[in-house]
């Protein structure tokens, strides 16, 4: 879909930002460019829509050399999302999103109708359509930026650190949202970040650049973690890559153990009688876990007192038996106050417990079966 053929970019001042880049971006997938600051990620990305022209080599989009297209026309067919969103301050949210359709010659009414649909697609309430960018939070602005890029349904989306200016919680939201959208839209996305975790989370494939615009490794995230090509990549990927690699292992072989539970509204006496190893999980009426109670916590509480939200101690992360990875299973065990991870089914209902030992056992089994490199 997008092909870099021996692409080099040398700026007027002699800086070589990208050096002989050869790389093929898979259609319908998310490809992430990652690397230290100044390694040429942005330059590589911007050469695709000719915001920057390559010094030598060729870039093909859909088999056609980008240099044969008129830059504005080329860009209208490629969505582009940047760090601070770059929304037009003088236009409402709706008109920002309608920009490209109007440029492409749609009537204003039709463009606005399309824009309104897109705001919904990216999870913004319709009431925000009439606001100006200055009246939105950073995360909302980014959503508008994504909506604007999607407006004429371009097959290709270029995103340059779109989520790096928002706080970690919002960033996680936006990442999940992007993955959800991509599940529906199947765009060819090139995503630039300097955050290796983001790269591994989002990328179907990840290209690690080293300074000087040299491609160090181009692989699936699991491969990158398991078999870094050299010291630079393994350093860049980070110390706890072994742990993060667990994120790519399904937890299908894992045995879920028994777990003691009590429902909100039951009495403290019930809870005390059912304690197992001094701990018990509290669930609500839908059997969704709300936290833990311990023998310590219950000591001194009246036998007939009801178990309510105030009494419950907050728990660790939950492990989803249907979609979770070994990493999330291990994390649930490590983050739980009782050392037992809480396992739930796809619907969020309590199904049992997980211990770290059990995760390690499953990991060992995966190694022997060759699923994990030794």
């Amino acid at each position: 879909m997008i092909e870099f053929q021996a692409v080099t970019k040398r700026f007027d001042d002699g800086t070589v930002a990208v050096d002989e880049l050869n790389l093929t971006v898979d259609p319908g997938r998310i490809t992430v460019f990652v690397g230290p600051s100044g390694c040429g990620k942005t330059t590589s990305l911007r050469m695709i829509n000719r915001m920057i022209d390559a010094t030598s080599g060729a870039i093909l989009v859909d088999g056609k050399d980008v240099r044969q297209s008129d830059p504005p026309l080329l860009r209208r067919g490629i969505g582009y999302v940047i760090q601070q969103a770059g929304l037009f301050p003088h236009r409402t949210v709706l008109d920002n999103v309608a920009t490209v359709p109007v440029l492409a010659g749609w009537s204003r009414a039709k463009a606005r109708k399309r824009a309104a649909e897109l705001l919904e697609t990216v999870g913004l309430p319709a009431t925000m359509a009439g606001r100006y960018p200055a009246q939105l939070s950073g995360g909302q602005q980014q959503r508008v930026g994504v909506a604007r890029a999607l407006a004429v349904d371009p097959p290709v989306l270029l995103m340059d650190e779109p989520f790096s200016a928002v706080d970690p919680v919002v960033r996680e939201d936006l990442q999940n949202e992007l993955l959800r959208l991509q599940g529906e839209l199947d765009k060819t996305i090139v995503f630039v970040t300097h955050d290796i975790d983001e790269a591994i989370k989002l990328g179907d494939k990840v290209a690690v650049f080293r300074t000087g615009g040299i491609l160090a490794q181009y692989d699936k995230p699991s491969e990158l973690l398991a078999r870094p090509a050299d010291d630079f990549v393994s350093n860049f990927v980070g110390r706890d890559r072994g742990y993060r690699a667990l994120g790519f292992l399904t937890a299908s072989g894992l045995t879920v153990g028994e777990i003691a539970s009590v429902q909100l509204g039951d009495t403290a006496g019930d809870a005390r009688r059912k304690l197992s190893d001094g701990w018990i999980v509290v669930v609500d009426e839908r059997r969704h876990p709300c936290g833990w109670l311990s023998a310590d916590r219950l000591s001194g509480v009246d036998e007939n007192a009801t178990v309510d939200a105030d009494l419950v101690m907050s728990g660790g992360s939950l492990y989803d038996t249907e979609h979770g990875s070994l990493r999330s299973a291990l994390d649930s065990a490590l983050s739980s106050p009782s050392a037992h991870g809480v396992a739930v089914n796809g619907g969020g209902e309590l199904v049992g417990s997980i211990t770290a030992d059990e995760v390690l056992r499953a990991l060992a089994a995966a190694r022997t079966s060759g699923e994990v490199p030794q």
């Binding site: 915001m51 504005p72 860009r75 770059g86 929304l87 037009f88 301050p89 003088h90 440029l103 960018p133």
Partner: protein
């Protein structure tokens, strides 16, 4: 106080070809003409330099020299070179109006956030579309500020047209001076002052209309700080 108002409130001075309404039309005509010419010359220059980010140094230097140029000197020089007529005062007033208009356009367009321009280019706008649809609307507060300041200076200075034989409110000032008729002089001066204040008020209103609400300072729920 009578010195200031006796001429002004005499009905005899409010009619005929030398009356206040006729002089007002002349005054506004010189002002409008000079402003339009100055916009036609100054705005494209400022906009181009602001858009391309090239030649800013030359432009600012030129604006500063023009600003320091004595308007009366230009006026009298052009009269000696081109003769009495509309040209000398209009030339002098245009040169007066160009620097603020040019500087406003340059500063306004140059100050549009680079990410916004980058995004405009990225979504596929041509350079022309970037200039007209993004840079100019975003620069409107400063562009309009320049035009407004030019308009005020020109209204105030259009009195000089009367010095070289034309009309406008300046007529009363110079005729009063020649005739030792202070009330007439003062009447002319007050008329110019009132006109300047009115022009300022009207332009403030117009500015509201041409500047996008998205560019107004955001009102925070807690009110203004400090």
């Amino acid at each position: 106080m009578n010195l200031l108002t006796s001429w002004l409130f005499d009905p005899a001075n409010w009619s005929g070809s030398t009356g206040v309404p006729a002089r007002l039309v002349e005054h506004l005509w010189y002002t409008a003409l000079a402003l339009v010419i100055a916009v036609v010359i100054g705005f494209p220059l400022g906009a181009m330099v602001g858009h391309t980010k090239r030649g800013g140094f030359v432009l600012v230097g030129a604006a500063n020299v023009l600003r320091a140029l004595p308007t009366v000197g230009v006026l009298t020089l052009v009269v000696l070179l081109a003769g009495i007529g509309l040209i000398p005062p209009i030339a002098a007033l245009t040169l007066l109006a160009i620097p603020p208009i040019m500087a406003g356009a340059y500063a306004g367009i140059g100050a549009v956030e680079p990410v916004v321009v980058d995004a405009a280019r990225g979504v596929g706008m041509t350079e022309r579309e970037i200039l007209f649809q993004v840079e100019i609307p975003n620069a409107m507060p400063l562009i309009f500020g320049g035009v407004r300041s030019a308009a005020l200076q020109v209204v105030a200075t259009a009195t000089i047209a009367a010095y070289v034989g034309l009309g406008g409110f300046g007529r009363y000032v110079f005729d009063g001076l020649a005739l030792h008729d202070y009330p007439q002089m003062a009447g002319g001066a007050i008329l110019v002052a009132v006109l300047a204040v009115l022009v300022e008020l009207v332009l403030t209103g117009v500015q509201r209309l041409v500047v996008s609400p998205g560019l107004r300072p955001v009102r925070t729920s807690g009110g203004i700080q400090r």
